[in-house]
């Protein structure tokens, strides 16, 4: 399975470079590859025109799509393991709603287009900070709730503290949602439209800065999460069982939550809210490769990347020259497919 996904990955990325409102043949894209790799402008007259389109627009966009999709899917796999719940997704720790609120605050207060830092808009910064803040609040509230005191959770054998965190996450998500609606209420029409489009996800803002930011935050976070695969497997037995097996459970929880928060907050900041990928990709792959996290997280990362690149290709081409929000594409295609698979292998992944 990983080999298959590894083979599909370059094909999907290549497709991402080929498809768009301006028709560029695959042959042309292929002959651009050496220039893209060395970052030199081509000298052949027939390539000069298309080079900037591929280099400045499609390349960062396609790779950002891969990075975001893969980060979301791997984070989803890790959260499903941490919460021992195949229905968990990365937003469960409040990061998505926090980022959403942060973005709205930034758009309403600073305005959408102002460069705050390194060519990143206030929206990106607001989303990133909002996402991390929300996770911090959820984590602190959950760990200060008496139920989740380390001793309590381990003695009961069922791991109350992740359950508490889940509940606090839901509460914070609701609160952030309400604050978001309040902001939408005071926002003018243009701002409102921006916020709501952003909430559907979109990779149209992709550029080199965003890609680089993604590479430097999402990839290391993904690697650190993946390295915990054995501990995550042990954690599926239960928190106490993992403790008896020698897992430092509280350390593992903290590490995973920080890394997932970083990866997802960055993803949401750079590409908006993209649902479905983080929940469903690991869920589906668990049916194929089993629940063991080494394979599951690897395959999720690869498949999530492929899925979002392809979804973005569709988002760009279905109503060309306009664009659909990519979150709409992932949901419209993914949800029926998911239901189909669930009906094929009823209950296998859930029970």
């Amino acid at each position: 399975m990983p080999t298959l996904l590894l083979l599909i990955t370059p094909l999907a990325l290549f497709l991402g470079l080929c498809v768009g409102p301006v028709a560029i043949t695959p042959i042309e894209v292929l002959s651009q590859l050496p220039y893209l790799l060395t970052s030199q402008s081509p000298v052949e007259p027939n390539l000069i025109g298309s080079y900037p389109i591929i280099r400045e627009l499609r390349l960062p966009r396609t790779f950002l799509a891969w990075l975001v999709g893969s980060g979301l899917a791997l984070s989803g796999a890790a959260m499903q393991g941490l919460f021992r719940n195949p229905l968990a997704d990365p937003s469960i720790i409040g990061v998505t709603s926090g980022a959403s609120l942060g973005a709205s605050v930034a758009v309403v207060i600073i305005g959408p287009q102002i460069d705050v830092w390194l060519g990143l808009s206030g929206l990106v910064m607001g989303a990133f900070i909002g996402g991390l803040l929300a996770v911090l609040i959820v984590y602190r509230l959950a760990s200060e709730t008496p139920l989740s005191a380390k001793t309590g959770s381990l003695l009961s054998g069922q791991g109350n503290s992740v359950a508490t965190m889940l509940l606090v996450g839901i509460a914070i998500t609701a609160l952030a949602g309400a604050a978001n609606s309040a902001l939408a209420f005071v926002a003018d029409n243009e701002t409102l439209r921006r916020i709501s489009l952003w909430n559907m996800g979109g990779l149209d803002g992709a550029n080199d800065q965003r890609l680089i930011l993604g590479v430097f935050i999402i990839l290391p976070a993904m690697f650190i999460v993946w390295r915990s695969h054995r501990s995550l497997d042990a954690l599926l037995l239960g928190e106490s069982e993992a403790h008896y097996l020698g897992v430092n459970v509280s350390h593992l929880k903290r590490l995973l939550i920080v890394m997932v928060a970083l990866a997802v907050a960055t993803s949401v900041a750079l590409a908006g809210v993209i649902g479905f990928v983080g929940l469903v990709v690991p869920h589906l792959l668990r049916m194929v490769v089993g629940p063991s996290h080494r394979q599951l997280m690897l395959c999720s990362a690869l498949a999530g990347g492929i899925l979002l690149v392809l979804a973005d290709v569709l988002a760009r081409s279905l109503v060309s020259p306009a664009e659909l929000p990519v979150g709409v594409v992932t949901a419209v295609l993914g949800a029926p497919f998911f239901i189909f698979l669930l009906r094929q292998r009823r209950g296998h992944g859930l029970q």
Binding site: R84, P86, K150, T151, L154, L155, G157, Q158, G159, R230, S231, D233, A234, L236, L237, G238, S240, E241, H243, Y244, L245, G246, V247, N248, R286, G290, P291, S292, H348, G349, Q351
Partner: protein, 264 residues
Amino acid sequence: MSDTVLRFESVSLHRDGQSLVKDVDLRLAAGQMLAVLGPNGAGKTSLLNCVNNVSDYSGKILLQDRSVADFSPQQRAKILAMLPQQSALNFPFSVREVIMLGRFPHKTGFTVDTAITDKLLTMMQLTTLAGRCYTSLSGGEQQRTQLARVLSQLILDADMSISSGSVLLLDEPVSSLDLSHQSSLMILLKEFCAAGLAVAVVLHDLNLAAAYADQCALLKEGQLLVAGSPDDVITAASIRHAYGIEVDILAHPKTAKPLVIREF
């Protein structure tokens, strides 16, 4: 008397204003099996949980003469394993994969881990179920799988050797097992004991305890009523005291061990 590997010194545990364990002194020697007995809510599970350093107990618990907290999690896990009463596992691991999870603290590599798992599958009569999904098993099969997992946690190499002074804590390991598997599990545990493993096992079946345990400890309301050989502990008087029921104690016709007969 052989070496003490696990020692409780005036251990007490309080939670929410209730005292779950009161001032318990107990020793477990290498190679011995200790049956922890007592009515529901007597503090048997709480006592075992103290060992893994998950509870803020008062008093001392020494594992190989060191405080449990002095071990690194991995060091500790190689010599101290615990099987809780219930399992929260609801992910579709195969039986083999669940047992392999027990190898977490060891860095013996896939080949050795597989060899150990194969042997445990045979010992626990799980070979035919090796590829089955854990969540589709019956309660007893799940319990045997989990037992194989905690055993694999203590095994050092493919020769199935264990570190001297290792301790295995089992919380009601036979609660879902049929009569035949109950006996074969106890016999298997005795074989590990012969190799030096110390086992503390919570049991409700006093006859099973009498037949296999070297030592018994009878708890009631967090207090240790009596500890000692099965003959000393399983008496009509102590059972009346602990459980509030009348029993007759006979000698087992074959083994001469105490045999508890309930009055109905």
